[in-house]
């Protein structure tokens, strides 16, 4: 297996939630939370998934883990024993692959069960995956806590005795407990203080090096992605609008939406005049997305063609591998 092989292939993944109204709960429409995403996650990389609130980042993350089932499209996992289409498996069939994919959640306050000690919360998955004796489980949980820079003894404490950063590290320890290959970090640091954020991010990077992990890093904080990610996918209204190497996104922004997002990063430099692009209006409703390019109502470059024709995700030439963007107006040469 090459390090750059895709560990996960998403093809035309759609997650639509039915909207039911009226007395008889008739389905009157669909929330297109994720609306046709093609994406490869390469083994060993950190893939950033950025976008505004409500653009479907979290739903896509959950669809990867099959916590939310995709209504259409496929998620394919490739490991030692070949490729497996996760979307076609039932719960029993998924069991083997649950071990490979894990998730770290956003809110450290609800991600741990308040009624159990840390050991109590962490031991059950271990037992589920065949660690029989209590001594063994205590040892594993202790080792995990030490791996996330916490004291072994904290396993007998309750979640309310810990700070947000500590809880988040326990959440990471839990995700690591069954030795996954890919971890989806769903806004894993956005609920934390900046100083704690740095701590947790550093921890994540160390763990990645040690255990050879792959991350899908969902965030709306572009300064975090810049520090962390190898590649970045920008999402807007359930679709990927730009996908490229992390440095390339900052150096050579192609999509107008990414441009607006990047201009919103605060810069700690008094002399630098920031040209902030303020987007007009709100994200359109995913129940009723705009015709043509989903971004056209807020795009400052929009022309008539944008209102009618949906732009394809096209491959552009770039110094760093490929650079994909979905916009009609990019005048750079396409890649072969």
């Amino acid at each position: 297996m090459q390090p750059n092989d895709p560990i996960l292939k998403l093809r035309d993944v759609q997650v639509h939630f039915p909207v039911k109204t009226g007395v008889f709960k008739r389905v009157t429409g669909h929330v297109r939370a994720v609306d046709g995403v093609d994406l490869d996650v390469r083994r060993g990389e950190v893939l950033g998934l950025v976008g505004e609130s409500g653009c479907g980042k979290t739903t896509l993350g959950k669809a990867i883990l099959q916590l939310v089932r995709a209504t259409q499209g496929t998620v394919t996992y490739s490991g030692e024993d070949g490729e497996t289409e996760l979307t076609s498996l039932d719960d029993a069939g998924l069991f083997r692959f649950r071990k490979r994919l894990q998730i770290v959640f956003q809110d450290p306050h609800s991600s741990l069960n308040p009624a159990f000690t840390i050991f109590g919360s962490l031991e059950d998955p271990l037992r589920h995956y065949g660690v029989k004796t209590r001594e063994e489980r205590r040892k594993i949980v202790g080792d995990l806590l030490e791996a996330v820079n916490m004291r072994r003894e904290s396993m007998d404490r309750y979640p309310h005795e810990f700070s947000g950063g500590q809880r988040q590290r326990i959440g990471i320890a839990r995700a690591l407990s069954i030795e996954p290959e890919l971890i989806v970090c769903d806004e894993a640091v956005s609920a934390l203080d900046v100083s704690i954020q740095a701590q947790v991010l550093q921890l994540l990077m160390e763990l990645k090096r040690e255990k050879n992990l792959t991350y899908v890093f969902i965030t709306h904080d572009l300064s975090v992605t810049e520090y962390l990610c190898d590649r970045i996918a920008v999402m807007y209204l359930g679709k990927i609008v730009e996908l490229c190497d992390a440095e390339d996104l900052y150096a050579n922004t192609l999509h107008p939406y990414s441009e607006a997002l990047l201009s919103a990063i605060p810069v700690a430099d008094l002399d630098k005049k920031s040209r902030r692009i303020v987007l007009q209006g709100d994200v359109p409703s995913p129940v009723n997305p705009p015709s043509g390019c989903p971004f056209h109502p807020r795009c400052r470059y929009a022309v008539d063609r944008c209102k009618t024709e949906v732009p394809e995700l096209r491959r552009f030439k770039s110094a760093k591998g490929e650079h994909m963007a979905a916009c009609h107006l990019i005048d750079q040469p396409l890649a072969e």
Binding site: R98, A115, G120, A175
Partner: protein
């Protein structure tokens, strides 16, 4: 760190802290969950008082034949409506039966009916509510409709119906109370589960591939236990009083068998209420004490199971 300790002269505080550290080290690892639970419960004074009262009442009812000197059923026509005396501690009622003996024996039925139906309906309500609240779908829909049917039906008519079908007996009373009572606890358990299932730790457990029953009963139920506990204590009280009401109508336990409700029914007579206080006061006080003690225990259990409360 070590340098600073070496250069600084040791003070009395240091010795104190060393002692505390040693004690903690000796305790480390021995502290078990059950020990913590017990110590928290025992530290709650009201809960302990409640438990003592509860135990005393239960034991006295259980050992009624050993304590009471009179037969609760046999009338004594030479001692009708006598006030308390050395012979009859709580006096006698209008047919000359010893009230003290009747209260003791009555406790057996009333506690069985009250606590029994409360626990039984809680068990049924929790088992259905926790699972259907977490899983949702058609199972939830069916359970919800059934509970709605039972709850919207006037209870007294349901009782009349069931008594007509099943006949009048103690067991039937428990069945009837359970049938009409599980809906409340079911709905509460379900509502708690609906809010808990959105918590991220539940999602995390799902991502490990744990089964729905294991997630619902093992991981989510402990977080819903507080209000359920309180509801059990409240419905115990309600069932004891309901048993009294039904017995009065002649639908509950046959009037000849002493129950707290049957004894209290004598006080429906205004003359008894005014002149023979010993007939209704002791049993009334016993019911209140018992219900109060169950409430205290319920509170204590809830606090003891809540990990964020220190004992």
């Amino acid at each position: 760190m070590t340098d600073a300790n070496a250069t600084r002269p040791r003070t009395r505080r240091d010795a104190q802290f060393d002692k505390i550290r040693d004690r903690e080290a000796a305790l480390a690892g021995t502290r078990q969950r059950t020990g913590r639970f017990m110590s928290k419960f025992l530290n709650n004074r009201l809960a302990v008082v409640g438990f003592v009262i509860f135990a005393v009442i239960c034991l006295m009812s259980l050992f009624a034949p050993l304590i009471a000197q009179h037969d609760p059923m046999s009338p004594n026509l030479r001692a009708i409506a006598k006030p308390p005396s050395a012979e009859h501690w709580f006096g006698t009622d209008k047919t000359g039966r010893d009230v003290f003996a009747r209260v003791l024996y009555g406790g057996r039925v009333s506690i069985l009916v009250g606590l029994g139906s409360a626990l039984l309906s809680a068990i049924i309500g929790v088992i259905i509510g926790v699972y259907s609240g977490y899983v949702g779908g058609w199972l939830d829909w069916i359970a919800m409709r059934i509970s709605e049917i039972f709850m919207s039906f006037p209870q007294i008519i349901l009782v009349l119906l069931l008594v007509a079908i099943l006949g009048q007996s103690l067991l039937n009373l428990i069945v009837i109370f359970t049938l009409t009572g599980w809906g409340g606890i079911y709905r509460m358990a379900r509502a708690r589960m609906l809010s808990i299932r959105e918590e991220e730790y539940v999602q995390a457990l799902r991502s490990f591939g744990l089964g729905p029953a294991r997630i619902a009963y093992k991981h989510m139920l402990p977080n819903a236990l507080g209000p359920i506990m309180v509801n059990i204590t409240l419905s115990t009280a309600a069932f004891i009083l309901q048993e009294a009401g039904l017995s009065f109508l002649g639908l509950g336990v046959p009037l000849s068998i002493p129950t707290w409700g049957n004894i209290l029914n004598a006080a429906q007579d205004l003359r008894v209420l005014e002149q023979n206080w010993w007939i209704w006061l002791p049993v009334g006080a016993t019911i209140s004490l018992f219900v109060l003690s169950v409430n205290f225990i319920g509170d204590g259990l809830r606090d003891a199971t809540d990990p964020s409360q220190q004992g």
